[in-house]
Structure formats: C-alpha cells, structure tokens
C-alpha cells in the first residue's frame, strides 16, 4: 500500500525554527519546498540529514535545489506527486551515476559561465582518469565519487574554510577512506598515510604556519584525477615547488643510477608522506645519513658523501663562530650591524650548498662553501676587531680609574703634608714666642 501524505503539523511548524541556527550563513530557501519540509520532519536521521545540511550548500544560494539533482516537484505537498516518475523523480542516484549527474552542469561550459566564468569544467573528464574513476567504472561501489569529497548536500565553495576541500581539511577528507583500515581492506594500500602526513613538514607548514600553498594530498596526487605519482614523475611533482633541487638532481649521477634501480627520485631519501625537515645530518657517512643506505664504506660515493658533509660542516661551524663573535660584540654594545649584514651572504651560500647537495658533486659543494667561508672570515675578523676595541676601552677605563686613584692618593698626601707643615710652623712660632 503506497504511503500517503500525512500532514505533520508539529514538525512543519518547527521547520522555520529548526533552520534558525543556520540562518547566519545559510541562504534563503524557498518557503514552499516540500522536499525540505518533509525530510526535516520525518524523524529518521538518515533522511533528515539532506534537509538539515542543505541550507549551507552553495547550490541553494545559486538557486539550484533538490529537484535539479533528484527530479520531482518540490511545489507539491503530496508525496505521490512530489516524487512521481511523471515529474522525473530519480530519488537517490546510483553510486556509479554520480559523476555524470554532477557533470550534467559542471561539464557544461556555457551553463557554468553563468555562475563563475573562471570555474573549470573538466573535472569529470579528469575524474575518469583517476584511480577512483577507473575503479568506479569497473563497478567498485566503494570508489570515491564527487560527493565523497564534497560533503553531499552541504557542498561549499573551495575557499570556504568549512569546506571539506579547503587545504587544511583535505587530509581528513581523504583520510575518511584512506585512513580507515576497515574501509580500505582489500585494496592492498597502506592506511597509515594520513598519520604519516600529519608528522610531515608539509602539514606543519599548512596548519601551524598557515601556509595554504603547502602541499596536502591533492597537490601531489591530483584532486579530481587523483593517482599516485609514478616513479618517473615524482621528481616533476616535487619539482613543482622544489625546482632547484629537482634541477640539480636531474644533472647528478643519481638520475641514471636511480632510474636503473627503479628507485623514485626525492622520496627514496626524503620519504613521501612523512617528509620531515631536512638537516645536514642526512648527508655524509654517519648512521643518520641517507647516503650510506646505498654507498658502501670506501666506495667513491661514500667518499663523496663524506667530503660534502665536511664542506657543509665547515661552513656551518665557521658561520656559527662568526655569529657568536658578532653576538658577543653586539651584546657588549659594539656597533657590528654592517658585519652582520655582510654575514647574510654566508647564510645564503650555506643554503645554496645544501640545495646543491642534489648534484652529488663534492667539488661543486666545496666551491660554494669556500665562498661562504670567505665571508664568515671577514665577518669574524670584524667581530674580533670590535671586541678588541671593546677591550681597549675597558683597559682605558681601568687606566683612568688608576689615575684617578693616584690623584686621590696624591691629594691625601698633599693635604697631610700641608697639615704637617702648618703644624711645624705653629710649633716653631710657639717656640720663638
């Protein structure tokens, strides 16, 4: 027996109030929208959810409502009419039909121009090249579609900080599936990627330093066309931001060596999801150095690694020494700002040498670090000169104090002598009288 429409007076009266909490950011919804009214009042959280979420959905603000995706007639309060096939009601779209459903508008350049002329219209096309799209095509019912990442019924603009696609939220959006071992069982891919990424320097830059250009999942994997970068494209992906190391690596002997061993550039030494802050300890022949993973002791590469590390250490230590001397002079009140300004050249040289490590050429690193060392030597000498000047002033102060003490002693002696003389003169006067 078909379910008949039962007016729900209490629920219907409550509808405007239920929306009140969302009125600040919610758009004005049509008052006579039976979809929202009915779903809001049915009491079943599963069917109430779309009506509760939709006031924050960007589509509503553009005049796109339930019937534009689900068909039906929202003007009718009779559910038979509102959800009739005659009104093209489709209900809940099939999982596999979702990309095409969204693409009906989002792939239509003419239509989308009405709302945002700069909006891309190739998302569906790109999606079909993704692992998600390919698996969906193969009939995988768990493969992500548009609504998996865009918070169905509460789709927000990408610049909206509450959007699931806002940069700082992307990792959790992807992590809803990729961080869930139960959901991902059977796919044979690791599910610790989210936890690892959250330990990375990229996540720190994104969330703690507020650098929204720092990479999150979609920056390296693509968003609509999400695919793991292949071994051959990793350097290009990382090189999008880290272009200097990528260029150096391409010129290095490692380029060929990695390719022949099937090793991916960048991630072999830096890892992929848990990329941590790099340091000089990564270079060289100690346990913490990544070079020793491949280079055996006494091999050519081993010696190159040791030499590169020595060059870096040499410049870093001379920079530290020069900085310490300048700090000491500055704290003592000496004017060393010019030397400190010039010392910046050595910091630049150290940074350039660190980037040039990707050349794996000890001679090139040494050339850069020697340039830096010359700068540190000049700054160090200026710092020492300032300290010598300070010492001279201190000595001058002690000499002045010594002289003042001598003058005081002299004065005391002089006063005593004058007193003695007067005393003797008075005694002589008394004797003569």
């Amino acid at each position: 027996m078909p379910r008949r429409w039962r007016p729900l007076p209490i629920s219907l009266l409550a509808v405007p109030f239920l929306f009140l909490a969302d009125q600040v950011e919610a758009q004005k919804l049509p008052e006579e929208n039976s979809c929202l009214q009915c779903h809001q009042g049915l009491g079943d959280p599963r069917v109430m959810s779309p009506a509760e979420k939709f006031p924050q959905d960007i589509h509503g603000s553009k005049g796109i409502f339930c019937q534009d995706c689900h068909g039906g007639d929202p003007a009718s309060l009779d559910p038979q009419q509102a959800m009739s096939r005659a009104k093209k009601f489709v209900g809940k779209p099939r999982h596999q039909a979702i990309p095409a459903l969204c693409g009906k508008c989002h792939s239509d350049a003419d239509y989308m121009k009405r709302f945002n002329p700069t909006l891309r219209v190739d998302q569906v096309q790109e999606y079909l090249t993704s692992v998600h799209g390919k698996r969906l095509k193969q009939g995988d019912q768990k493969a992500a579609t548009c609504i998996s990442c865009h918070d169905v019924h509460r789709i927000r603009a990408i610049k909206d900080q509450q959007a699931w696609t806002y940069p700082v939220k992307v990792v959790d959006t992807c992590g809803r599936c990729h961080g869930d071992p139960k959901y991902m069982a059977g796919y044979k891919i690791p599910t610790d990627v989210v936890a690892k990424y959250k330990q990375s320097v990229h996540y720190e830059a994104l969330t703690k330093k507020g650098d929204l250009s720092a990479p999150t999942c979609n920056v390296c994997h693509g968003n609509h066309g999400a695919t793991p970068p292949g071994v051959g494209s990793v350097a290009n992906v990382c090189g999008t931001c880290h272009s200097v190391p990528a260029e150096f690596f391409a010129k290095s002997p490692h380029q060929q060596a990695f390719a022949s061993m099937g090793l991916a550039p960048c991630v072999t030494c830096h890892s992929n999801h848990d990329v941590v802050k790099t340091g000089d300890e990564m270079v060289g022949t100690t346990d913490k150095a990544v070079c020793v993973t491949c280079h055996q002791a006494d091999s050519g590469g081993f010696r190159q690694a040791a030499a590169m590390r020595a060059s870096l250490d040499g410049l870093r230590e001379s920079l530290t020494r020069a900085t310490a001397v300048l700090d000491q002079a500055e704290h003592a009140g000496m004017e060393i700002s010019q030397a400190r300004f010039e010392l910046r050249g050595a910091s630049d040289a150290l940074l350039k040498a660190r980037a040039a490590i990707h050349l794996a050429d000890a001679a090139a690193i040494q050339k850069l670090t020697e340039e830096g060392k010359q700068i540190t030597a000049v700054a160090h000498a200026k710092g020492l000169k300032a300290l010598e000047d300070l010492l001279f002033r201190h000595r001058g102060l002690w000499v002045s104090v010594g002289i003042i003490v001598l003058v005081i002693v002299g004065l005391v002696l002089k006063i005593r002598e004058i007193d003695q003389r007067r005393h003797q003169e008075r005694a002589a006067d008394r004797r003569s009288t």
């Binding site: 250009s213 272009s243 200097v244 004017e335 700002s337 300004f341 630049d348 002033r393 002693v409």
Partner: protein
Amino acid sequence: MNTPTNSRRGFVNCLLGGGFGAMVVSVLYPVVRYIIPPKSGEPTIANVTLPWKPNEIRVNSGRIFRFGNQPGILVKTPAGELRAFNAVCTHLNCTVQYREEKQDIWCACHNGVYDLNGKNVSGPPPRPLETYKAFVKGEQIVVSKGA
C-alpha cells in the same frame, strides 16, 4: 740646599700635576670617542636614504640596499616606477634579486619568484615580500616602512 722634605714635596707635586693632567685626558678621550659617531651607524628602522640619485637607477633594474640589519631591494620597474621591498626571501631567508630578463624578483637559493608587487608567484616562498614605500625627496631616494 736640597733637603729630604723638599725632595718629597717635589715628588708629590709632580705626582699631583701629572695625575691631574692624565685625569683630564682620560676623561676627555672617552667623551670625544663617544661624541664622534662610529664609521657605520645603525640607520633608523623607520626609513633610510639610499646612496643613489633617482636618475642613476636604470629602468628595469634592481639594487640591494641596507635597511637596518636586513637587505632591501629597490626596483625600477619597466614603467619607470620605483618600488622597494624587504629583500629577505620568505622561504628560508636568502637575499632575493631582480631579474631583468624576466622582470621579476627572484631567490636563487630555491627558485622562489615574486612579481613586482612583491607577491609570491611560484616556487616555495609562502608569503609575499614585505613592501616598503619608496619615494624621491629632492635628489634623494628615501625608503620607509609602512607602504
């Protein structure tokens, strides 16, 4: 006749006179040293007058100058407008430079690129360069904070 008393008196007078003279010198010397400013004084952090005349700066060129302890970069744009920025790259603090051929501001350390408004446009820099105000005052170029 040179009695012991006269000899002692002469010594004390000498000590007193010499000491007084030395005291005068020792007091005046530090005063003079402090009055004469050091060779390179710290410019005020609010503004700095550059050592170049406006017509010395070529169109489509950039020069590094000192702004306090930090480098600044003065750019004369292809349109002939003077602009100034803090020249410290917002990525890892290298000193940026002007690239005439690309008409941009570039950090050689990690290939960070800024446009002529100081906005980071490619590479790793996370933020724009701090913008200074550059203006011509008579025959001098003055750069100040708070553009």
